[in-house]
Symmetry: C2
Subunit: 342 residues, 2 copies
DNA sequence: TTGTACGCGTTATCAA
DNA sequence: TTGATAACGCGTACAA
């Protein structure tokens, strides 16, 4: 029963010989043209393939046809649940349309990004979905210039010619601030990681500053801190809460990581949630568990994943068209909980 | 600056022509044999490759050489942080040793598992790391019989010839129960998903029942529920807490999912953590946030990932040896928090 | 409906 | 140190 130890896979030719037919027929059988074969041949081929444990060699297949049927994904931080959720949507959409997804994690490291890019290019992925780290690397620009379909998640990247799929940041900020206002909060501290080169952070920050500048019942400030700098975060929050002001105060967090850090900080400062408002962009499964529940704005991650694949395949179907980059924005969903109930 | 829209990658032959050398020399240059080429040739090839934006075609490379340099991973639930953490370790280890990781998510669906298996086999992965769903599929058994190196994460799978890497379940249970005992709890409710075909769940459950049967200061029971059946869970916990008994009571959760569900249930029942003990296997980033912090037993996920790759490559380096399956167990790390402090 | 012959981009073998 | 040539496994004309 156990086969030889050589680990040589059966080839199309072997199947053909075993079945007593030609290579072409076997190729047709596995290439989705079974109808064109006689019932007899089909049975013989199926039998032989079964017997030999034959599997078409994708490498050879894509070498010949030029179609690898592979989509690459570059994700900045695989441990970020948001990235995983998008990846899940992507993968589903890819499979549904006959593609496979090759995922590479860069750990926010430009060197790893370059390395992985070379890898994906080597496997001749037909499209690339990227959750970019910072500046577009030379490798990436080169691929883009070659005309490889590119979709950026959540943020634009320099002047790169690529579609962008992500949250409608201005609308998301409006939704959040309107919610806080409606709940009776008047003073807001917006917490974000440094927006430096991440366009989505810039967009959110800009909208926050615009809204807070307008007045209209809300005032406050924005504060950008390096992720992981807990002391600075604690200090910033403490200062905000200690500052004089009659209106109830609330914290708005730019993403899931910040929400996590801010929740830690509030616990360290022994501040009650709700009394002081807390709200974050990105829904996480623990947000309902931290009493009395943390209000979030959930991103439609599956939609985003699907949209990314759509963009990619649209470009693949119209090769050489060079349509202008397009951006698709999706709205978030407000999940109100106790942390914004006074 | 912009290249043609055709998306045809430069080939080795084109580089050779542009550089005025032979294919062989270019192949040597990119195949890691640069030392054997004269400085002049090296420079000419480098220039031409640069100019043309050449990237070796992995497909063709692996077609010829038979080495795809690909490791496949099949994960049952990509949204499980434990899986992601292991995947992270795997990926690092793969890269460090010149391999790439192709990850497929099965969403616990046997049909998807089969499909993805066919895919990975098609790309001629040289090894497979699997977080199995249930019964070994026919496809999987076939690959194993062919001698494809296989590593199972966390659970054995029927009589499949494969290495297994995971937690030392008996030791983990002992650590957990000893901790609960030391903290003064005497009555334990062990919560798990149905162990049906998952060997690690069986192992944990068996050890729990053995220990609870021994007495030695601990008594209690085990309760297996379908994931997501919140009403049943609430009822089970309520019954446990209502039952007469002098000793302080504690819940022990078999994995992260169960911990999440149990935490929800305890909140619904308005039970204070600590007063009633709560402890879970698997560390999650929110466990410290749910007041007063949830005690966990963290799995050494990165170690597990690395070990899996080690096993795989060891078999790859000794082809045809058919060493007997081997199992590697790793110890967990206790993270004591307020939920087990009375 | 079935088979023959060639090429995809690369590496390996052998000769110079 | 270099180069010519034959595979690798498959798809796809084209011919029968």
């Amino acid at each position: 029963m156990h086969s030889a130890s050589s680990r040589t896979d059966a080839t199309l030719l072997e199947v053909a010989r075993d079945a007593g037919v030609s290579k072409t027929s076997v190729s047709r059988y596995f290439g989705g043209e079974r109808e064109r074969l006689s019932a007899d041949l089909q049975a013989r081929i199926a039998g032989a393939a079964q017997r030999l444990g034959y599997r078409p060699n994708q490498m050879a297949r894509s070498l010949k046809g030029g179609r690898s049927r592979l989509i690459g994904m570059l994700v900045a931080d695989i441990r970020n649940p948001f990235s995983v959720a998008v990846m899940h949507g992507l993968e589903q959409a890819c499979r549904a349309r006959g593609f496979s997804l090759m995922v590479c994690n860069t750990d926010n490291d430009p060197a790893q990004e370059r390395e992985h890019l070379a890898l994906l290019a080597g496997y001749r992925v037909e499209g690339l979905v990227i959750n970019p780290t910072g500046q577009p690397s030379h490798e990436l620009r080169q691929l883009a210039d070659q005309g490889l379909p590119l979709v950026l998640l959540d943020r634009t990247l320099g002047d790169l010619e690529a579609d962008v799929v992500g949250l409608d940041n201005a609308h998301a900020i409006d939704t959040a601030l309107d919610h806080l206002l409606a709940q009776g909060y008047g003073e807001v501290l917006y917490l974000s990681e440094p927006p430096s080169r991440a366009s989505s952070r810039q967009a959110r920050l800009a909208r926050v500053e615009q809204r807070l500048g307008e007045g209209a019942g809300l005032s406050g400030e924005a504060c950008c801190l390096e992720p992981g700098d807990a002391p600075a975060l604690n200090a910033a929050i403490a200062a905000f809460l200690a500052a004089p002001g009659a209106a109830p105060k609330a914290l708005l967090c730019a993403n899931g990581n910040v929400t996590l850090a801010a929740t830690r900080a509030l616990q360290a400062l022994d501040v009650g949630l709700g009394e002081t408002g807390l709200m974050g962009i990105d829904e996480l499964d623990w947000c309902e568990l931290v009493a009395p529940g943390i209000t979030t704005l959930a991103q439609p991650t599956e939609d985003i994943g699907r949209a990314a694949v759509d963009r990619l395949l649209r470009r693949l179907d119209a090769p050489g068209e060079r349509a202008p980059p397009r951006r698709s924005d999706y709205g978030g969903r407000l999940i109100a909980r106790g942390s914004t109930r006074r």
